[in-house]
Amino acid sequence: MSEKVWIAGGGVISGIGLDVPACIQSFRDMQPGMAAMQYLSSVHRNTFPVAEVKADNATLADMARMPENISRTALLSMIAAREAWQSSGLEDISHYRVGFVSGNTVGGMDKTEDFFPDFLANPRGGRLHQVAHHECGSITELVADMLGIRHHVSTISTACSSGANALMYGARLIRNNIVDVVIAGGTDSLTRFTLNGFNTLMILDQQPCRPFDDTRTGLNLGEGAGYVVLVSDSLAAQLQPWCRLSGFANANDAYHQTASSPDGTGNYLAMKGALDMSGVQPQQIGYINLHGTGTQNNDVSEGIAINKLFAPHFPAMSSTKSFTGHTLGASGGIEAVFSALAVKEGIIYPNARFEHQMKELPFAPATTFSTGHDLQHVMSNSFGFGGNCSSLVFSKV
């Protein structure tokens, strides 16, 4: 079980860019992706800013080379998964035993919610093709089929930690010699279902969100997809991998269906478990990509757990959700790509709009973009509903 698993590449599409270089440029330029809703149709259009991918479905379908009428979730997934594969240098996919493990939270809900009004009016109403890909797994298969992946396809749905758990499962598939390569991450498009759901929880900020700021009042939803390409030790020897996935852990907070425990039990256990697997001491972590949603509850629980584990040596940290919004099932995948790239290029990402120190915490997030750091180890946190908490550690060697 000790075989090393490497990150050979990554792809991201998000509210701050249609590919990885565009996203990095947005961080460099301090250009967050939140704006008034342009593509999602909702009565809350003028109330809640969101970080939409700045392209309509026709444009995305062109980029994905897929039909325009399929779920936006699949289009986003396809674009990021293809970028990830192309960045890996692996070339012909049919030469390898490949797995595709993708997280998402609501599958083809963007189409189902268009189907539903007609269906509610008449059980024979609504166009069936709109619900043909409602299932989370169906979204994954649309992309796997397009990429030509058959050895292993799987979908994980653990709310906001789905993408991170996809990396864990993918790494285990490689360690157990089931496949040699796994494209792992997650995807989610904005839907009225999730927007209204988060609105009922009263955790949406009507302004651009302020993660880890004392005045924070909630999160902004985003959309996108992010995947890494995980490869076995033997394949990595033929490539120039970005870094290694050295540790990961998943724990359950077992406190409340949606809220985090005040002392961040699950968060702490996930981070501690990931460090233990990687064999890294807390002070060796150079940067943490925070879950950092900007809700009162998450940031204080996550912060307290970090304080408990890392004090007094706090690494640089930031929430890239201050740029991309909370992309739910995609966030673990998107932030895994950002974290892996942080190791490769020594990047510390900025936390936008941080002004006021949280009174509960002795540390503050980084507020400017910088490169050239010697980051040996980077941690990425993803915590979600259902108490699902996951942490990943990326290491230089």
């Binding site: 024979r124 209204n196 359950n252 259902g386």
Partner: protein
Amino acid sequence: MNIYINGTGCISPQDTAQGGPLLAAPREYEQVRLATVDPDYKQWIDVKQIRRMSRVVKMGVAAANLSLEAAGITLPDAIITGTAYGCLDDTGVFLTKMVNQQEEMLTPTAFIQSTHNTVAGQIALLLGCNGYNNTFVHRGFSFENALLDAIMILKEGTAKHILAGGMDEITNYSHQVLSRFGIYKKAPVKTMELLNSPDTGTIAGEGAAFFALGATKDPGTVAELTGVSTLYKPLWEGEVIGHIMKFLEEHRCTPADIDLLVTGRNGDIDQDEMYEEVAAALFPDHAEASFKHLCGEYPTAAAFGLWMANAIIAEQAVPEAAVFYGRAPQKINRILLYNHHQGTHHSFVLLTAC
């Protein structure tokens, strides 16, 4: 390293929750939509919570508890679930209100309970389990991937006892929509005659089955979970046959070592043809048992099939209601469970008596 099934629990359209001999009094239905026989959920869940919980959460929590009780475990090290559809009922409730109320005045309960990881999260919450917690939602592989994840983690040695299960529910909405895709029989059939049906279409089912898996066996353990494998979109039956041969080989056995074949025949004449081909090619004289006439067709029905296979090993007999073909040998040592969902998702589970 061996992985053992130390306890099982099942909520299904049969009386599987109450113990006793396997399918002693099978329930026969004459309808295209089967519903679970619900046990008294108060055994495991607080009355106030029961009212708020959807059926899939209740059946999942109950089956999980039954399997832990059977294994004598109060707190597993990990909880892994598989569900293709997730929490359809709460999803439907929230969607309906969202549409009817034009996105205004909505309440959070249905949304909170609509996420696919609700069952795994609720089990963790009720048990106070801080361990690994994961939910697979991949159509006809949801349950199998949960089993595979559990096996890989047990082999790593980071967990000793893992609770793994599969569950799906039917709702009025889901049944209406799935019916429009033409996957069910047009007219009710007697379930005990389903597998001899001369036409296409199957019957809808639902249920939850959980397994307490461990790296060590208990005194009451009857079966070892020898292997799990999946095959996605095979191009033709030869690929399925080749996959089974390779799967058996990996576990150092041949078709001759299989004492009983358990198949996911569902009464759709087109879909059942694959089972015919596989049986004819590899298991021409083998006894065969089936289960979807008992639990109905749904993406995680293989969990019911595995529950039944484990019980057959425990009793060393195939109950009359499950027999499809032939007579199993005196000693049932190895069972191969072969299921496919809609011809695209094929899965194989090998059980060995211990």
